[in-house]
């Protein structure tokens, strides 16, 4: 039995890992931050009917708040990434938490439609960027190796958070009304974020530890101080001159349009084909649940194989998979689609941090990742508009499905034009030339040498 366990450990590389490392605490905190930060965005759908009932506003005018929030989040993302690099992810996320509280309280007391636009669209939009952008680069800083594993575990919360919060909000709306529900979620969410951020450390050095996967032979990285700031500016200047930087924004945009069309349009499409609202919602839930597997698996595979290959397969699968909807007429058809399409969809967006690490080494990736989320946010906003717009014009969703495929497949072509990931595009993020005299890294974590990609 013991031999079998040892074989299993060796076969899957588990002997390289340990759970006794603070990096996993950071991953858990990041998961909760992502859950809280993204959940209210995803749960917007349950807010529409109560607001229509309470104030008589049209669904279209209420939906404008969602579109505004998506665009504000997108536009604030590059600045948020920069702030994360400059002042640290923790301070940036605390600022985001304060805005989260203000946005939730103000939304709960909304009496006029413009208040909804300011509170939900602008305040909450900025809050989301401050919470969601710096957290991914901060997790990356905690992994010298095995970033794919850390990212994969964190990204699972993208699926679980909304699924959980939608249910909680639905129960609260039913029992205490929409206004009190926002107060409760705002207070509990803010309290949770403030408590867990007490334990958040921006870098391993801040916590007096070494990054996960650091070997005894690794030179330490420059992660703080004046040299860090000046060198980062110089490094970022080089990043802007690479094709990959601009193309990754483009790829994120195309991929997000591709899946936003489906995520927003699948319920009305299902209902238009005769599915009950509950059954149609079940299709969306199925997509969320099945995509958990590839949200976790894609970054792990990307690190072991090639991020370009994994991303190409995901984008291509996402694009081709939507054609199943053209012939979907029964409940079974829709659920088969949900299971098949969720696999590439889950892997579409989660390998980006690994790809950035391959191209730009151990540089703080906040600004670069923030720019990519600008593309993603604009893509989500556009993709959310397309199904309704196309249906209003044509009376069917066929064009929306075709457009979704076109955007995803264009993204897969753009991935093919990315640079090879075998070499970094810019010399590695400055390491100290050698270990400073008298220093040592006594408790080197587990980890093997990084495989060539």
């Amino acid at each position: 039995m013991r031999n079998a366990a040892l074989w299993f450990d060796r076969r899957f590389g588990l002997e390289e890992h340990t759970i006794a490392h603070y990096a996993w605490v950071i991953v858990a905190i990041a998961g909760v931050v992502q859950m809280v930060g993204a959940a209210i965005r995803m749960a917007f759908g349950v807010l529409v009917d109560p607001l229509v009932a309470a104030f008589g506003w049209t669904p279209g005018s209420i939906g404008l708040a969602y579109a505004l929030m998506s665009i504000v989040t997108a536009l604030a993302s590059p600045m948020s990434g920069y702030l994360g690099n400059r002042f640290g992810a923790r301070r940036t996320m605390i600022a985001g938490t304060v805005l989260f509280f203000i946005g939730m309280m103000w939304t709960s007391q909304t009496q006029q439609i413009w208040e909804l636009y300011v509170a939900y669209g602008i305040v909450f939009g900025i809050s989301q960027a401050l919470l969601l952008v710096p957290v991914v680069p901060a997790v990356a800083a905690w992994f010298r190796r095995h970033l794919g594993l850390g990212t994969g575990i964190m990204m699972v919360s993208w699926s679980l958070g909304p699924a959980l919060v939608i249910q909680v909000l639905a129960v609260l709306f039913e029992n205490v009304g929409w206004s009190q529900a926002f107060v409760i979620v705002g207070v509990v969410g803010t309290g949770t974020l403030l408590v867990i951020l007490l334990f958040f450390k921006n870098t391993p050095e801040d916590a007096g530890k070494v990054a996960y996967g650091t070997l005894e032979t690794d030179n330490p990285l420059i992660t703080s101080g004046n040299v860090f700031i000046s060198t980062h500016k110089e490094f970022q200047g080089f990043v802007y001159k690479t094709n990959a930087f601009w193309n990754l924004i483009n790829i994120h945009f195309l991929g997000c349009v591709g899946h936003a069309v489906i995520l927003v349009g699948i319920i009305p499409l299902g209902i238009s084909k005769g599915l009950s609202p509950l059954t149609a919602a079940g299709v969306l839930t199925t997509i969320s649940i099945v995509s958990v597997a590839t949200r976790f698996g894609a970054p792990v595979l990307a690190e072991r194989m090639s991020p370009k290959r994994v991303m190409f397969v995901s984008f291509f699968g996402q694009g081709v998979g939507v054609f199943l909807l053209l012939t979907a007429n029964t409940t079974l058809d829709f659920y088969i689609f949900a299971v098949i399409w969720a696999i590439p969809y889950g892997g579409e967006g989660t390998a980006f941090p690994v790809l950035i690490r391959k191209y730009f080494g151990h540089t703080p990736m906040g600004t670069t990742y923030g720019w990519q989320l600008l593309g993603a946010g604009l893509g989500m906003a556009l993709g959310g508009v397309i199904p309704g717009m196309v249906f209003d014009i044509t009376g069917t969703y066929i064009w929306a499905i075709i457009l979704s495929a076109v955007f995803s497949l264009a993204g897969s072509v753009a991935i093919l034009l990315l640079e090879n990931t075998r070499r970094q595009l810019i010399p590695n993020w400055p390491e100290m030339e050698s270990k400073p005299v008298g220093s040592e890294i006594p408790s080197v974590t587990t980890g093997s040498a990084e495989p060539g990609i």
């Binding site: 420059i222 990754l248 014009i393 408790s443």
Partner: protein, 86 residues
């Protein structure tokens, strides 16, 4: 797990970047991004013009007049003008 690495601002140079430069411009990456922006605008203009011409046509039918005689919004005219297919 405590690291004994001293505060790292003692380093004043960044040797790995010294002398490094990128002379080529990111034409492929930037070009792909701009292509997507243009393609997206084209899609939006096409569907926007489609919707606009439908609205103009429906109003004209309801009023029993020709499309040219009917009044239209500025954005409807703009989208129909911008789209070569409408």
């Amino acid at each position: 797990m405590k690291s004994a690495v001293p505060h790292q601002v003692i380093e004043t140079t960044t040797p790995n970047l010294d002398g490094f430069e990128i002379t080529r411009r990111p034409l492929i990456g930037f070009g792909l991004l701009i292509s997507s922006v243009i393609g997206t605008l084209a899609v939006l203009i096409f569907f926007g013009a489609w919707a606009s011409s439908d609205r103009i046509e429906n109003r004209a039918l309801a009023a029993g007049i020709s499309e040219i005689q009917g009044e239209s919004e500025w954005w409807e005219d703009g989208l129909v003008f911008a789209c070569p297919l409408h």
